[in-house]
Point group: C2
Chain length 107, copies 2
């Protein structure tokens, strides 16, 4: 794939039911990843944006976690309903969606 302008990592970490840390998988990472991929396809933005799933990004309590590079912006509690806004405003527009940005204590 071409080198993207922005690269989105959607934490897809799984853990067993009842695990004390929980997981982004248990917080909806799979439908979230699908929503990002669907939006990428719909906009045919493959030259600008890459969407990749990843292992644990750290602050599991606030999942589902989504990390955007090169800025290193971590979004928390992201749901499929947020995907269009993140895509338009940040991934294509360059301006982070502040209401979803992790607190400085988290990242």
């Amino acid at each position: 794939m071409p080198r993207p302008t922005r690269h989105v990592f959607v934490c897809s970490q799984q853990r067993p039911p009842g695990h004390p840390r929980g997981s982004c998988a248990a917080k909806g990472a799979s439908p979230l990843l699908q929503a990002f991929w669907a939006e990428l396809q719909k906009r045919n933005a493959y030259d600008q944006v890459a969407i990749t799933y990843s292992g644990c990004l750290g602050p599991c309590d606030g999942g589902a976690n989504v990390l955007v590079y090169p800025e290193g912006v971590l979004y928390q509690r992201v749901t499929p309903d947020d995907v269009v806004e993140v895509f338009e405003k940040h991934l294509l527009g360059g301006e982070p969606v502040t209401r979803l940005v992790a607190a400085p204590t988290e990242w």
Copy 2:
């Protein structure tokens, strides 16, 4: 985890044996990831460097692939023997290991 200065994504994509694209898993991604994590632990560099596994990064032929942000440097054909050099020179020293950098046609 604290926001790292450099974030390493080790492609750990698996595919069935005989799949035409191959995979980074088949090219040694798992021992490579373990080597990065071991080096991170040895250096106790958790405040500076994060190591995360990821899904497919694209150019599977050249795996195992390792992507470093915020620079967006893709390394290819990485083996556990390369880990100390990548750690010292790039992750802590800020200078990419040019002999491993993907060709511009790949990334």
